[in-house]
Symmetry: D2
Subunit: 359 residues, 4 copies
């Protein structure tokens, strides 16, 4: 048994099995994957990593399972390993590579963790644990940890949730985690926290611009999946800094010194598919890596589907809470797409965009 | 003017001059220098950097100057830049290179900051600001910030100080910052906090071992000062990972995957100089980089010299406070030197050490 | 000048004028008026008083005025005195006496504060300050303080608001405090916090039942307004404990030992006026003080009217934020009315109620 | 089972037996006994009560017992009831009445709690639990709770202790709680916290003066022990306000409106017994209740006797820690005695004192 101290959950106990998993190189790699990608360019204190988030998720998953002893205990180790497959700078590179969950599965099957897992579980079984509602549901240990943690490290007050009350009122009914009546307020608050973190933290334009620049650099460098999923941030940044391609070196140098591209467009108006493709093509043809189109998918909001037990009946959280319904409406209002350009090209890019789009 | 939000001081205001300084590549480099070196291997959440510490030091220096308008205002920008010269992993490499203050001076004279500084101050003047008691005295903005910040990120409760009360009761008498009577308790508490952070955080053996391993790797790699002072942690780690020397690659791989050397000796008994040198020579001859001697200087405790004003008379803090005197005595009890060895060599190293030393 | 330390705002500075006001008996009386009435029967730690809340409101009002120097400075002293007229157990007794604002005005005109105020302001002027948007508007210093403070003392996480950001982004346009664009998120969060505090803290049924019992005791005791507005909680409770009427003594003894009446009805369905009156009459006739009808007014939500400045245009907060609109809808869902009865009468009361009402 | 939420420990679980004990009038009375007496006249936010402190002590005692299952479980209920016998304004009145522990024993034997206790324990057994090291030792649940709690409510940073680490490292050896090696730092910190709370909070002169005034009023009023131990603060203050003796009414009115006596002497020089008695007699003869001598006993510091286990040997904490030794030296430096006088008598009292004492 090992104790890890930290500010978010106090002392976290790691049992021997967890210690073995933590001691693998793939888990230690998470120490060099920042939790929030380039958010630190907007909130300098947001330097926490997937490593401590993974420990925290494990800790909360164990609490959930302690309150719900019918859940298979193995899910707490799945909680520990759920982010093994994150790319350098976390979600940023999912724009051009498969979702990180696929890499997590790859590590389970091919990493040093495999042998350790197989001491107690079959690989198939363990892969199923990764999809268990405690690890990856509407309201799960992952989300609880990252909201609290991201709030702690950015210093925004929005992410505060009465975790203790929520955990005590999440009941496993054999199929899903159901929010009991006394936990509804805390569950609502979790959704609210998430909803308010979106515009202020997660979708901060500074982080989005730097992310788009990294994506462009990695695309130009052409790193195959089986390389990048093994890289930590040191590997990736060093590779880009020493690229043969001057534009790649320029992009990473700009990120490093926070000389970021500027917003030419920053809009909440969706674009039709054809127009979007045309815009992309023309920008690329005319400006290459000096102008970037960043058109992210709209946020999902699965938590609204969480089940609650009200007066003995299972209902959807969004059915019992007008607040949650309004959060669902609200979610798109924070969505933005953008065109960013190197400072010297801003005016020319603006002209091209104005020619194509009429707002 | 720019606002930066964060958890330790809330909102920090950066005036235009500060923004210009922050926007230089040498200042942005501090984003990639961790505040506490390898402490994160013991406290995984300690991922904060010299960047946010520098902003915090600036913020507190400004508060001190606001309360003491006789102090030249330029010192607040010296507070901002005081850590420009920190090496990758902060103090670790000061074991084999000059103190970071020399690099800070070098950046002031040779960096992009030079031109900005010269808009308002002469370089000579600015270098003097760096030694001002507000920036680098017995009780200064630097120390106030790092204690609070390190406590916040490690989650230890020891670092809590009533900063507001302390700052209100630090009085500039033209020569030094004097603690007024109502601030004595808070000043004592600052010293206490520092004293308690030493054994639990700053001198944690895990961090010391990893540090000794890095020092060895860098020594073997032979990086000259004018290269290393420009490097960030990405540059350094990438360089070591791709070294021509297999032992260098082995050391950094071991740090990366937290397969650290083990303690063969961990002692608070000082060693005589001759014996120390003999031990060093023999370890090196027999084991090369597989056994490391780590014999740090004893900690200083200049704060005990802080001046306090008691009933109209200037006195030393250590003269009015038995607690501070005992902290001074105490400081050496936390000091340790160690011999660390690669796992497979531990027994052989132990035999060599036992032969030389009789405890 | 005097400094007051506390956990919510750190150090609060009281200038000499404020000190004079604080030193009056009517202000000191606020030390014995609990901020949240009987909420402490549900949240035992909620023992804070109108005294510290008044200091906190003063502190925030001063910050608002510091950021908006066009506001007349006198409003900060109105913020300090705004709660002078609160009854013992705060809002509880407003069910049977005039609103506390009238008593505040009475103290301004008749208390020891009068002479102090008149050193600097006319009484008429000062009474106008009490209605200034900084003191009593949609988003004001009062509300900011109590939300943060109530959250701190009850330990619920809901009340956290980025006060600093909000205050920096409240702009006085000569007529009102307008929320600037960068403050909208913080303003929303204030409303959210308030909205979530309602069901969990402010309207907790335990506090409501005890409140209804106190109201009944005071009604039976028949204390005239010009007596009760001078009383603190010691005066009132002692008076009820030594009442000539055994039912008054019984009610206060029950509150003191937390043997509260039980809920017979706890409903969110409004009642028609006639039916309500009939219910009240019958309950009174049959059970006297042993059954209590508690039918509070629906909560208001004036903050939705707060003005925000979006792209140069003044708009209502509820117009720009779907979240705020949904909070407005939501507010009634937390409203409840109840019938409470002494334990031994619960069954009989239930029968009477069932006879009158069909749900 | 019942859950109580609060800021210091989060959620506290009360089992059915604890709920029964809490529901007695003597336990509910603790809601009206402030934890820190008149400290709230110096720190307005210090309004917490013995009620929540008792719940907190119970909570920590249970944690200690959970880690040390050999301890008889009944001690956790003794922790809950340990403060039943506190007087109004806590320790203040122990200057003229027996120590509160005697009243606690009296309630155990004569209160409503008696029958409840006897469901599970004999009274003799339970009285022994009250002296168990978990409840009342060198380092116990009581002290841990009040330090953290008092720091929380006064907002001073001194009281912060890593409770979790301390509790995990307190080991019951059948006779006492022994601090294990990994807990020494946290134990030291507890002592430090206590030591720093003394001068800033517990011995604040404002609280001491008001306390001396209350003691004088109660002495003059002549309230017998069997009355006062049943009183809460409402009973006592109301009694003094309506006293037949004008000087009693004057004293309580002065406390209520914070028109406190002034310090004529405030000294750390001990007085010889004879001189002390002479001073007391002369002050009394000349000024009656208008001048008060406050000569408290020197503080104890039993924690220094706590046992620690270092390298397998039981030692005293003060033997292994120079810091603790210096705290022991330090404790007397915070001790003060005083003579306080009504404002109009200050000069005449000063003359009398000067005549008797030569400093």
């Amino acid at each position: 048994m090992k104790l890890v101290h930290g500010p978010v959950h106090g002392t976290i106990e790691l049992d021997d099995f967890a210690v073995e998993l933590v001691d693998t190189p793939e888990f230690q790699r998470l120490r060099r994957i920042t939790q929030l990608g380039f958010v630190f360019l907007a909130y300098p204190t947001a330097r926490h990593t997937r490593f401590e988030h993974s420990l925290g998720t494990f800790h909360l998953a164990r609490k959930l399972v302690d309150h719900n002893p019918d859940v298979e205990r193995g899910v707490i180790y799945a909680a520990l390993l759920h982010d093994l497959g994150q790319y350098p700078f976390s979600h940023t590179l999912e724009a051009i590579y498969p979702r990180h969950e696929e890499n997590t599965a790859w590590f389970i099957k091919n990493g040093e963790v495999r042998d350790i897992i197989e001491e107690s579980y079959s690989i198939g079984e363990f892969l199923r644990f990764l999809k268990h509602p405690v690890v990856s549901g509407d309201i799960d240990a992952d989300r609880m940890d990252y909201l609290i943690r991201d709030a702690y490290y950015t210093g925004v007050a929005y992410g505060l949730v009465d975790l203790d009350r929520l955990i005590r009122n999440l009941h496993w009914d054999g199929e899903r985690l159901v929010v009991l009546e006394k936990g509804i307020m805390a569950a609502q608050n979790l959704l609210l926290a998430r909803s308010m973190m979106y515009p202020t933290v997660y979708l901060h334009h500074v982080s989005r611009i730097a992310g788009a620049m990294l994506v462009e650099a990695v695309k130009l460098e052409g790193i195959p999946l089986d390389e990048i999923r093994l890289m930590d941030e040191i590997d990736l940044v060093a590779r880009l800094r020493t690229s043969d391609k001057p534009e790649v070196r320029g992009l990473i140098r700009a990120i490093d010194s926070r000389k970021l591209y500027k917003r030419v467009i920053w809009s909440s108006e969706p674009l039709e598919r054809d127009l979007l493709e045309e815009l992309r093509r023309e920008l690329e043809a005319e400006f290459g890596h000096l102008a970037l189109l960043d058109y992210p998918p709209k946020p999902k909001f699965e938590e609204k589907n969480a089940f609650v037990l009200v007066e003995g009946k299972l209902r959807r959280l969004s059915d019992v809470s007008p607040l949650v319904r309004s959060l669902f409406e609200l979610k798109d209002t924070y969505w933005r797409w953008g065109v960013y350009a190197e400072n010297s090209e801003v005016e020319r890019v603006r002209r091209l965009v104005s020619r194509l789009l009429v707002f």
